[in-house]
Symmetry: C2
Subunit: 269 residues, 2 copies
């Protein structure tokens, strides 16, 4: 195999396996090339990805060493993406009677969810999360794509508890906006003790659901290393949780004027 052939395959495999350490031996055997050649291939990929803002390649030394790709966007690329996302969500056709914003198509979109997942992973990877935690239903696609970029499992709490998942832990929580009591449960086997959890959800208003997830994590003796939201409402200013990251801020929906006021969170980066 020529160098350009090897680079095509290595580049594909690294892209497909974010944050996974792949040994040089693996590539060496797969591509029938000396490890020194693979090393040179990796140097080329590393430099090119860096120059083009296509992510970070790192070589890990030691017995379990190898090469690892991590998605990493430039600040400009992230801001540009978020402005486009705002523009998509500002469409007046998204306003739903009652003053809601229809955004299911966006958060369920394979492409948007992938990019948002990569941004979340970039923001929290240094805290070494071992699991991404969400609650059904709408947070699942973003949580899955975040877990994929981090190369960790995704776990989703349920709003009921199912007999098909074995023993589970349930908590009750008060929704911050509706003041109603809800339940949330997670199968005992879904999360080991001492997990380091990144909480991910699509939307936060009062913060009750997010606080519920924190309490659920505490029941599992897990450490919450961060909370990541796609959209947070500007009001109420005071949420039931203090520490979170939100990509966008929903300032309001004016039903009379048919206008959606949403902006990029300028404290994000």
């Amino acid at each position: 195999m020529r160098r350009s052939d090897r680079i095509a395959i290595i580049s594909k495999m690294l892209t497909e396996n974010p944050n996974k350490v792949i040994s040089l031996n693996y590539f060496s055997q797969l591509l029938d090339a000396a490890k020194s050649s693979i090393s040179e291939d990796l140097d080329i990929i590393k430099d090119t990805f860096a120059v083009m803002g296509e992510g970070e390649i790192a070589t890990i030394s030691g017995a379990s060493g190898g090469v690892r790709y991590r998605p990493k966007k430039t600040k400009d690329a992230i801001i540009k993406f978020l402005h486009e996302l705002c523009k998509t969500l500002q469409d007046e056709k998204r306003i739903i009677p009652g003053g809601y914003l229809y955004m299911t198509d966006v958060i369920f979109s394979p492409e948007y969810s992938r990019i948002i997942g990569e941004i979340f992973s970039q923001l929290f990877i240094e805290y070494n999360p071992t699991h991404v935690l969400t609650v059904e239903t709408k947070g699942i696609p973003i949580a899955l794509m975040t877990a994929r970029a981090l190369n960790v499992p995704m776990v989703s709490a349920r709003r009921d508890s199912r007999v098909t998942e074995g023993p589970s832990v349930s908590i009750s929580y008060v929704s911050g906006s509706s003041q109603r009591i809800h339940n949330m449960s997670l199968a005992k086997r879904a999360l080991p003790e001492s997990a380091k959890v990144l909480i991910v959800d699509d939307f936060m208003k009062g913060g009750g659901t997010a606080r519920g997830m924190m309490e659920l994590a505490a029941e599992f003796k897990a450490e919450v290393i961060g909370t990541a939201m796609v959209i947070t409402t500007a009001v109420p200013d005071k949420k039931l949780i203090n520490d979170f990251v939100s990509l966008l801020i929903l300032e309001g929906i004016d039903i009379n004027e048919n206008k959606v006021y949403i902006k990029v969170n300028d404290k994000l980066l």
Copy 2:
């Protein structure tokens, strides 16, 4: 930029955007290279991917033409993956009191769901589905990854109907196994008329839920081009739907012997 640099970037971008046609002009401008050079790069990537069983690169001619990558595994690679999946699921620790099999970790795994999604896309891409349809909750990760591989939107029916999604269409259906009546609803704006729908779910026993999704699709005047399941039970042999593909067959769980009988569907390929 040298050829090997360009190949690293093109290979990454194609991998990240399955089934999306990207124009040669785009690469030409991004990489500051003549279209003829990009064409040669693509020939190299195409041949290497084909030789290594890493998917299919096709050049689409015409005004909206360009290059497109599709995941495509060899039959052997699919069978090998499915045998590994069986082995994972056969673990006696997965047996849950009541005779259920715990598999949430597998179907929520970013890696398993990606590979299963690619297999489903490979099996149905020739029917040109425009949407992947599932119902909350457990089918969502596999449906999302299938939609990602097909480059189409994923839509998920709900078991209730939410005021935050606007007008919706609801149907009632009888669960094949429990004989209970359930509801399923989908926001009117989630699926356009004349969509070509691929139904995806994780598990099928009686087929009631799958039939519910077919009826829901019919309410939207959508054509169902196929139904894809990860696991189907061997019993009942007669399901409420006729036409479906299942990767694995669950033959039974012996609680006394602590054994899970699950096999690769040998009629699959």
